[in-house]
Symmetry: C2
Subunit: 459 residues, 2 copies
């Protein structure tokens, strides 16, 4: 058996040169997205006003299995990648488990998370098309930071609509984005039609991801040479994030290992979709049969308590509609919920795979998540982001089960980022003021009531 | 010529198994430390009430060239090391310089800095001796965080005296230390004799590193089974930090490279001493003659404007006296100064080497430092700590000179840590409210007036 180091880094030669497109191996495709203007399946051209052309193509292309990563993106990846695959010897010891725990750590860049993998790709394609600016939204701030960084690198002006409650509570996140010259606006704002409408209804509205998306899309389509980019949910984002799983798989092969269970946190699905991609390929093609587990907050349970239905991706209902697990675009998670993973919907690709039984999902409460985060930090020297700590919690639970059953399972989880900007939540946990929140069925019903009606498709 | 990757990671097999003790190759030794109780050179035993025995031995041992790193420390190092040696291709391109720039990045752990290298060693030896608690001080918070992390790992209760102005301005730093169960006290405090005395003189005192050291030492010597640990300045700390330079040198050898100039930021000297150790060895033994440059803040210029004299290591004047470059233990840097590198003295080893002409020193102003930090972050995807950005500034200046002269120098600098907890300073820089401050000769004289008199040695 090979000696397994604590941290394994691929060399530059070993790094993947192509992304992997999961759809190429799916027996059934996700249902098409619907253009709300026509109530018909959207075409690639329908997306051009919102996305740059190559990204619109990636969004719709379900057949190309491997996509060459452009040289310029590979060069940028090399600045902060490969990310290490880490054997959690210390966590295993602390848990007294016979399980082998591995994690892929994506927090080693200024943005502090995996989001940079797609931000670079999206900024690159926009620049290549000759666009002159971009817009996006950010909640907890990881995506906004990553895109700011990528745009600074490619010299593209960027406007970030930041959910107002985060804008006010996380001045340091804002400061990082400004270091990268981004124009950061609290959402809802008076700079857009949809923002003004929301503020007219509720002047004290603290915002939501869905609302920030509406504003960012509106600004993109109404500005010459400007497009909108999104950090999760989309097929193109899962494609870019496949770099996480591809690197992980190569590293595990070098160690003669294969995971019995793969665990990732799930908000919109970007990290999870990226991490599992090549392992799901094995599953779809019958080469292997690992368990794949999505972990979501109990306070925003799209997979475990959502509906598999067509829904808008934003609150303002101006984006195309996608078939996905959703709590309804009108759902706003409790302000009690710390960190990200607060999006109402879920990647259509992952939704389809979950619906077809290729994945499991589990919802966890946040005090148990921070308990896991703290224990993990103490033994593994990484302070995890609250989002990432959802995966840690589930991995620890899995390893504890192994202690009880004596099974020597190999567990792989995704550690998406660091928690340096989440110390307010850590402090609440330490001081015992952090509360759990599980929406009632009635709470969820309000969100479901916002689901759209589509003649002949969803009545 | 070998192909140079962006990031080079040693494998676990390649990692150094011994620390290197610079003193073994110094032609002249630093002057001995003086016990203020006897006004005579201190013995190893004199240090036992303050330091655990093995560390007291390392402090005094000037002859053992290589010290085996205990297995338990090597295991802990493997959790977050090796740190990468990074070729700054993007920075080179942005500067248009023919110089080759390398940096050793030490920020990839929860503590966010190189400080963990010595924290682990010091906590380990304390635990091994059966001690039951430790005390320390912290200013900007990097050392306190690192030691909290190490103590949590070895199960040792820790009290951190945190300079009051930092305690109040950096609640998130405090929160990280608390995540690791440290007891964090704002200094000056009423928990010590010296703290009460300082507060009696000035109830509004916002503290200093020298004052926090006094409190931490007092608590250590007055508590059963407790010792004091310090994150810089000491010989033992430079020994532990030699891991940085040893790894760097192995990595550079793999690339067939040798630095023409080695640049490190200097507060107490721990990072600088560690980074340069094996290169200074080459210089001391005549094998090579690289330039070695210490970079310090213009607001706290121990090397460039200090005196080479015996001084106390703390404000309360209870520690031994060391011969070093110092601004006087009474010197308190302007509150205008952001981040660390605010200690009044300097490592006695580095002071001696500087005094004997083996090193250069340069002082830089903080707006130029943050300018460099921002430019660096944009192209290299790492948000540097203000301390580290001093080295970036000097490395960039060196590379810009090469652009002008056409020289293809190889530059190596130490990137000691990340700036996630320094966004207040970044914001001040972005908003143009950051000011530079250079002490006048009269300001410095006040500090020099606090230098001790030692009969027959320093009158």
């Amino acid at each position: 058996m090979k000696k397994v180091p604590h941290r394994l880094y691929l060399t530059e030669d070993q790094m993947p040169k192509q992304w992997y497109n999961l759809r190429a191996d799916m027996k059934e495709q996700p249902d098409p997205i619907i253009n709300p203007a026509t109530m018909q399946p959207a075409t690639e051209e329908d997306l051009y006003p919102v996305f740059c052309k190559k990204l619109a193509h990636q969004e719709m292309d379900s057949t190309t299995r491997y996509v060459d990563i452009p040289e310029e993106i590979l060069e940028m990846y090399k600045i902060y990648r490969p990310s290490p695959l880490i054997r959690a010897y210390n966590l295993e010891k602390a848990l007294g488990t016979p399980a082998k725990i591995y994690y892929k750590f994506e927090g080693n860049n200024t943005s502090g998370s995996h989001k940079l993998n797609s931000a670079i790709a999206q900024a690159y394609y926009a620049k290549e098309q000759g666009l002159t600016s971009l817009t996006t939204e950010t909640g907890a701030g990881q995506w906004g930071t990553a895109l700011s960084e990528a745009c600074a690198y490619f010299g593209l002006p960027l406007t970030v609509f930041m959910v107002k409650v985060s804008y006010e509570q996380k001045p340091f996140r804002k400061a990082v984005m400004k270091t990268f010259d981004a124009n950061v606006i609290a959402s809802p704002s008076t700079t857009t039609e949809v923002g003004r409408r929301i503020l007219a209804d509720d002047p004290n509205c603290t915002g939501s991801l869905g609302c920030a998306i509406s504003e960012a899309v509106e600004k993109a389509v109404s500005t010459e040479g400007c497009r909108y980019v999104l950090g999760s949910v989309l097929n193109q984002v899962l494609l870019h994030q496949s770099i996480i799983g591809l690197e992980s798989k190569i590293a595990m092969e070098m160690l003669d290992e294969y995971p019995d269970v793969i665990i990732g946190c799930a908000g919109g699905g970007s990290n999870l979709g990226g991490l599992i991609a090549p392992f799901m390929q094995d599953k779809l093609t019958g080469k292997a049969d690992p368990r794949i587990v999505a972990v979501e907050p109990a306070s925003c349970p799209s997979f475990t308590r959502g509906k598999y239905a067509y829904d808008f991706c934003d609150t303002g209902k101006i984006t195309p509609m996608a078939k996905m697990y959703t709590l309804g675009s009108g759902f706003i998670p409790s302000s009690n919920h710390a960190g990200g993973l607060r999006y109402h919907g879920m990647s259509p690709i992952l939704s389809k795979l979950y619906h077809d039984g290729y994945m499991e999902a589990v919802a966890v409460e946040q005090t148990r998540v921070f308990e896991a985060a703290t224990e993990f930090a103490k033994v593994e020297t990484i302070l995890p982001a609250p989002e990432s700590a959802h995966a840690i919690r589930a991995a620890m639970d899995e390893a504890i089960k192994c202690r009880e059953t004596g099974e020597t399972k190999t567990i792989l989880f995704g550690l998406t980022g660091t928690g340096y900007f989440d110390m307010t939540a850590y402090t609440a946990f330490q001081e015992g003021t952090m509360k759990d929140y599980i929406p009632t069925d009635a709470d969820l019903q309000k969100g479901f009531d916002s689901l759209p009606k589509i003649p002949g498709i969803q009545e």
